[in-house]
């Protein structure tokens, strides 16, 4: 029916020799066979290669496969990136973006299309697709107001429970526990393990954040990991993690161990710390400093009370001289209370006792050891003396005959 050079010889004058020869050829190839042959030829002769160009017509289908073209000033190459590879991309490239793609040339037999099957795609320029993904998410969150400074909440000064989300195996957890133990050992740490890199890490971290949000057991949260490459830290730039942090009912401190780049998690968190250790320092108070604060308040309380008590004594002396017997009895009761309070002033200052040469023995759990029964030969004991601590070992324990009569 249609025009065929092999059939339409008549009207064209003499049939050329090569056409004539082909006319006598025993068979014609099928389209399928030709395409298959072309495909084998392409795939067999061209190894995987990098192709640089600009992206045109990027389209992701419901299947997850992505179709686009690479082009330069004079040519265009069809490309396909299958789902397994495309889902590793931090984001989709922009139209016209300069990229390089690693792939293999092939021919799509059904359509006869010559194309590149792309396995990896990198944006050119600083950060490439990573930078683009970061900026896209940042502007989206910014537009929603999730990065606004007025959203930042202050951290509690004395958290009873600190929630920690990180890998159970990394150095980050160890560092955090170490700092909290050194500064504020009365704190309770609630640790929720999560993967911090690789497939599923974003979902893991977000799930841990939601777990803390649902149980409300922590007063403040630390989420983070130690340092790593851009790809290692990437999970902290994932939208799921950012949104889980933004939704936290308690303040969140981000602790992603990196010096240069800020992550989306850092931007959304209430406080950004450069390392897990630094996060722990921000989250718990320094026990030694708090102890000094308490000592100062105790000294001021004692001084103020002493002043009031001595003024009270003077007042009582004056009143006693003026009053009758009933009133005097009432005054004596007051006086008694005054003296009792004065006696308590000493309680304010255990340091005064230490300064006089006394020492306080503390057990392994930090409790004061008051009787011989609390000592065991060979057990470690810490002595609190006026200017520091002395670690000792119990040699032998003797109980006074008057109290017990038994030798341990």
């Amino acid at each position: 029916m249609s025009w065929d050079p092999l059939e339409a010889g008549g009207g064209w004058g003499e049939i050329p020799a090569f056409v004539a020869e082909r006319r006598t050829s025993p068979r014609a190839y099928t389209v399928s066979a030709v395409n298959a042959m072309a495909r084998r030829l392409l795939e067999g002769s061209v190894p995987p290669l990098w192709v640089a160009g600009e992206v045109a017509g990027w389209k992701r289908y419901a299947s997850g496969h992505c179709y686009f073209s690479l082009r330069d000033a004079s040519a265009r190459l069809r490309c396909v990136m299958f789902r397994a590879d495309a889902q590793r991309l931090p984001t989709e490239p922009e139209e016209g973006m300069q990229v390089r793609a690693l792939g293999t040339l092939t021919l799509y037999e059904r359509g006869g299309d010559f194309q590149l099957i792309v396995r990896e795609l990198e944006g050119k320029g600083a950060g490439g697709l990573w930078r683009l993904a970061f900026e896209r998410l940042r502007s989206r969150l910014e537009a929603e107001g999730l990065l606004a400074p007025e959203r930042k909440r202050p951290l509690p000064r004395f958290p009873a429970t600190v929630g920690v989300i990180t890998s159970p195996s990394g150095a980050a957890l160890h560092d955090i526990l170490h700092v909290i133990e050194r500064r504020a050992p009365w704190t309770r740490v609630l640790f929720c393990p999560a993967r911090v890199q690789g497939d599923g890490a974003a979902q893991d971290l977000a799930r841990a954040m939601r777990l803390f949000a649902s149980v409300r057991m922590a007063d403040v949260l630390i989420i983070g990991r130690g340092g790593g490459s851009v790809e290692d830290l990437w999970v902290f730039n994932e939208e799921a993690v950012a949104r889980a942090i933004a939704a936290s009912p308690v303040p969140v401190v981000s602790a992603v161990g990196h010096e240069v780049d800020v992550t989306i998690a850092d931007l959304v968190a209430d406080v950004r710390a450069p390392t897990p250790s630094a996060a722990a320092e921000r989250v718990v108070p320094d026990g030694a400093a708090v102890g000094r604060e308490v000592a100062l308040l105790a000294a001021r309380l004692g001084a103020a009370a002493r002043r009031r008590v001595s003024r009270g004594r003077e007042e009582l002396t004056v009143l006693r001289d003026r009053l009758g017997e009933t009133a005097r009895a009432a005054l004596r009761a007051r006086e008694k209370r005054l003296e009792a309070a004065a006696g308590k002033l000493d309680a304010l200052s255990p340091l005064a006792a230490l300064r006089r040469g006394y020492a306080v023995p503390l057990g392994a759990d930090g409790r004061i050891l008051r009787t011989t029964r609390q000592f065991r030969p060979g057990a470690p004991v810490r002595l609190r003396v006026v200017d520091g601590r002395v670690d000792c070992t119990v040699d032998q324990v003797w109980t006074d005959a008057a109290t017990d009569g038994r030798q341990a």
Partner: protein
């Protein structure tokens, strides 16, 4: 492992305790209180100091693990720390 921290010496209470202590000290230092009132405040102040010191002397960090349970709830269990 000790059970729940006693209510007098929790970290959460420490902040309020120190704030109250500040207020008590300031009131006593103003030196314009009736003796009865001054003594009552003083005694209260001593209690706050005692409880604050108890908390600060607690030595052992408590570390627990928060895990999602099969039934959708949560499990809190002691967490074994690796050797330092």
């Amino acid at each position: 492992m000790a059970g729940r921290p006693d209510t007098n010496a929790t970290a959460a209470g420490l902040e309020a305790r120190l704030a109250r202590l500040e207020a008590i000290v300031a009131a006593l230092e103003a030196d314009d209180l009736e003796l009865e009132e001054a003594l009552a405040l003083f005694e209260e102040g001593i209690q706050h100091i005692r409880h604050a010191r108890e908390l600060l002397q607690r030595a052992e960090l408590r570390v627990e693990q928060l895990l999602a349970a099969e039934d959708g709830g949560v499990v809190v269990q002691p967490f074994e720390r690796g050797q330092d």
